[in-house]
């Protein structure tokens, strides 16, 4: 019994000691650590007002750090407490429940899949509430339409995310005879040509795409209607486009043109394909600098981790030809226009009351309204903005790593051409849920031997369980 007592108390002491040590080590890297327990609008120990931020992407931290550097007066008065949750379904549940609690976030962000859902929440403050005035004509209309509820503008995005196809120039040269974007586009302009190219790639031992979900965004954006009719809340299926998507993908998978026969987006093998072996990826503006560029590298400065900043991301000096597939990529419009995401910024009703309204307003204006700051931020990232006029001023800097990544191609031209075509007719409140159901249909059709009709019918069956306010045909 004595041993038992010793062990129990020893375990407790050890757990406490270990946590103290690690917690101290962590304080430097987690910005929110020191503010934990302080509500939005409260003061931290240095007397600054805490602005609570909920986000789904680790990009936000860097952006807000940059914002503080750029606005020293703001930094003297306010500090950010950032909560990051990268899993889409968890992030939605967490943000909604937090919004209803006493400890609500002041500022929160959303991805396109649930941007509309967040705009419709009771606790979301409109731009007018926040005192932000915008000129509608200065934005791509989809950026605003996305988050307009009953005529009220509820959020703004700093990005527009026109979809493109990123391809390997060296493979194109070998298989198609030319790596030039205009030439390659000719081999990729329709789905029939796309499949032919895929077969040619296969002959030479290259995969056309990574996983079976690669073409999903492109096809889904080209449906004739959204999954759910917003007025009647009825389920709508564009069977033709969905079948075409399943059939094209199955053909590619069966013929060995995909590196994996599972959905692999955001999984290890997806990133692996960016380094070698896969001909093209369906990406977009943020995807270019945020996803494919860092992940095409085979080596990242020997993987050293700086405990202070915690950075293991690629260093500028890693971006050089010969490291993975860096410098071997080109960019084209691809078989069909589409878009992928965007990042919308929302103020909560809480921020109107707790004294952080001005802070939230300043942040949103900095990233989404003021042309100068927007240009500065996005030029640095190599990203594409939600305002056409600002995009006109974005220039591909020949010194930048993105420019070198694309072997000297100016990617802005292609984005500028694609962006005005984006519309919101295919988006609804529940796109996130439907995307999962479409993945389900894919796997059922391609690997589980289900018939095309059954697989498509399965989409409605799948979402019926948790979409009780949508009417499905009997």
């Amino acid at each position: 019994m004595n041993k038992l007592k010793r062990v129990l108390s020893g375990t407790l002491a050890l757990a406490l000691a270990a946590s103290m040590m690690t917690a101290c080590g962590n304080d430097d890297s987690s910005a929110g650590g020191s503010n934990s327990g302080t509500q939005g609008g409260g003061k931290d120990e240095s007397g600054k007002t805490v602005v609570k931020v909920y986000t789904f992407t680790d990009e936000t931290q860097g952006m807000l750090d940059g914002f503080l550097e750029d606005n020293p007066e703001f930094a003297e008065k306010y500090t950010f407490d950032i909560t990051l949750e990268a899993t889409a379904s968890t992030y939605q549940q967490k943000t909604m429940s937090a919004l209803a609690s006493d400890d609500a976030p002041d500022l929160f962000l959303a991805d396109a899949d649930y941007a509309k859902k967040f705009a419709a929440l009771e606790q979301t403050a409109s731009l007018a509430d926040l005192g932000i005035t915008i000129k509608d004509e200065e934005y791509y209309s989809y950026v605003l339409d996305f988050t307009t509820i009953k005529g009220q503008r509820m959020a703004l995005s700093h990005q527009a995310a026109p979809g493109v196809v990123l391809y390997r120039r060296d493979y194109a040269e070998e298989v198609l005879g030319s790596g030039d974007p205009a030439e390659v586009q000719k081999h990729m302009d329709t789905w029939d040509h796309f499949v032919e190219t895929a077969e040619a790639m296969k002959e030479k031992g290259y995969y056309m795409i990574a996983g079976i979900d690669e073409l999903k965004r492109c096809f889904m954006n080209n449906r004739s209607s959204a999954w759910v009719n917003e007025d009647t809340m009825e389920y709508q299926l564009d069977k033709e486009t969905v079948s075409q998507f399943l059939e094209v993908t199955k053909k590619l998978a069966d013929e060995g043109c995909t590196s994996d026969v599972t959905p692999v987006q955001w999984n290890a093998n997806w990133y692996k394909g960016m380094k070698d072996g896969v001909f093209c990826f369906f990406g977009c503006s943020w995807y270019l600098h945020y996803t494919i560029k860092p992940n095409c590298l085979a080596e990242v400065s020997t993987g050293k981790v700086d405990p202070k900043t915690g950075s293991q991301e690629a260093d500028e000096k890693d971006y050089k030809e010969g490291n993975g597939s860096f410098g071997k990529w080109g960019i084209i419009a691809g078989p069909a226009p589409y878009f992928w995401g965007g990042t919308w910024w929302y103020g909560s009703k809480k921020c109107l009351e707790d004294g952080t309204k001005d802070a939230v307003k300043q942040v949103i204006e900095y990233f989404c309204v003021n042309d100068d700051s927007l240009l500065k931020v996005m030029q640095k990232k190599g990203d594409f903005t939600s305002k056409p006029a600002v995009n006109e001023k974005l220039t591909a800097d020949p010194e930048s790593s993105t420019y070198k990544f694309l072997a000297g191609q100016d990617w802005y031209t292609i984005f500028r051409e694609a962006a005005p075509n984006i519309d919101t007719k295919t988006t609804c409140l529940y796109d996130d849920e439907f995307n999962t159901a479409v993945d389900n249909a894919l796997t059922n059709y391609i690997t589980n031997g289900m018939s095309l009709d059954d697989a498509i019918a399965g989409i409605a069956t799948e979402v019926k369980s948790n979409l009780k306010d949508v009417k499905f045909p009997e």
Binding site: M1, K3, L4, K5, V7, L8, T11, L12, L14, A15, L16, A18, S19, M20, M21, T22, A23, G25, N26, S29, S30, G32, G33, S36, D58, Q61, T83, L84, E85, A86, T87, T90, Q93, K94, T95, S97, A98, A100, S101, D102, D103, W266, N267, A268, Y271, K272, G303, V305, P307, T309, G310, S311, Q312, E313
Partner: protein, 307 residues
């Protein structure tokens, strides 16, 4: 009679051979089962020492094709520290495991102390006092033993949100006061360990009812309470479903929630770091278990693990 004895003798010879054969089989089976029990943990620890390239792409020339994949998994490498740093400090992952251990410890210890103390109190109430509703209420406790929390978790979570108890540990610690199976166990335990005479003696000495319980009865119940404490500790440490719905702050996350974040982080492909994280969560439990295995096994034998 003599014949019978001889038959017995010859039977005995074959019998011995059979016993030895059985013994051999028993040990072989036990050794195989030992390997199956330990292997996943061994692979986990070795994989935690590998870089992402080694995990994805190594191949051993000397190993036969069929066992190659296993052999590769059992090969240690030298990236342990690197993975540790990545897991704990990198921007992409940065999971606060130190805080997680502390948080899980707070919940586990808090819930354990409450459940064991108040269960003993309740069990004592039923064992010593002859009040009118003693029998029916005890039967009630027996009955509710079988209603698991998973049946009511949705409305429990709703209630906690409505009471603004999200991002708080109260929903995981306070309800532990009502632990029917612990009451049941301790009530059984008391019937053998506690005598009414002792309580009477305490009363004659002029001790109050709570004084008797705290000073005389609790020390006697210690072994039984310790058994319950171990299992309460493990159960609460591993609790996942309800915390995962009610806690959304990284710095308040418990260990099982951080494990979920290891897989949920779609931006990470650092399998070495993921294995390291798993090792980190498994190691304290393994040590705790090996140190207390004697008591735990005894507790299981008593049927104490039944929730």
């Amino acid at each position: 009679m003599a014949n019978y004895g001889q038959a017995g003798e010859s039977m005995k010879g074959g019998y011995h051979a059979r016993i030895i054969a059985t013994k051999v089989i028993v040990y072989i089976v036990c050794i195989i089962l030992t390997i199956i029990a330990i292997l996943p943990f061994v692979i986990m620890v070795f994989s935690a020492s590998k870089s992402r390239f080694e995990i994805n792409s190594s191949y051993l020339d000397w190993a036969p094709k069929i066992t190659n994949s296993l052999a590769v998994s059992l090969l240690p490498s030298g990236h342990f520290i690197e993975n540790a740093k990545y897991l704990l400090f990198s921007k992409a992952l940065s999971l606060p495991f130190g805080r997680g251990f502390l948080n899980s410890a707070i919940i586990a210890v808090g819930a354990t102390v409450l459940s064991v103390y108040f269960s003993a109190l309740t069990a004592y109430g039923f064992a010593v006092y002859r009040f009118k509703l003693n029998k029916p209420l005890y039967a009630f406790i027996m009955g509710i033993q079988m209603v698991p929390t998973q049946v009511t978790f949705i409305s429990f979570v709703e209630m906690m949100f409505k009471w603004h108890l999200s991002n708080s540990y109260i929903p995981f610690i306070l309800p532990a006061i009502a632990a029917p199976s612990t009451v049941f166990f301790l009530r059984q335990y008391m019937s053998s360990a506690l005598s009414v005479e002792m309580v009477e003696a305490g009363r004659i000495d002029g001790a109050g009812e709570f004084g008797i319980f705290n000073r005389l009865v609790l020390p006697i119940l210690k072994p039984g309470m310790a058994t319950m404490a171990i299992f309460a500790m493990v159960t609460n440490w591993n609790n996942f479903l309800i915390p995962s719905l009610l806690i959304d702050k990284m710095e308040m996350s418990t260990v099982p929630m951080l494990v979920q974040k290891l897989s949920g982080n779609k931006y990470s492909t650092e399998y070495g770091a993921i294995y390291f994280g798993l090792t980190l969560t498994a190691a304290p439990l393994i040590i705790f278990y090996l140190l207390l295995s004697k008591y735990i096994i005894a507790g299981v034998a008593l049927g104490g693990v039944k929730e």
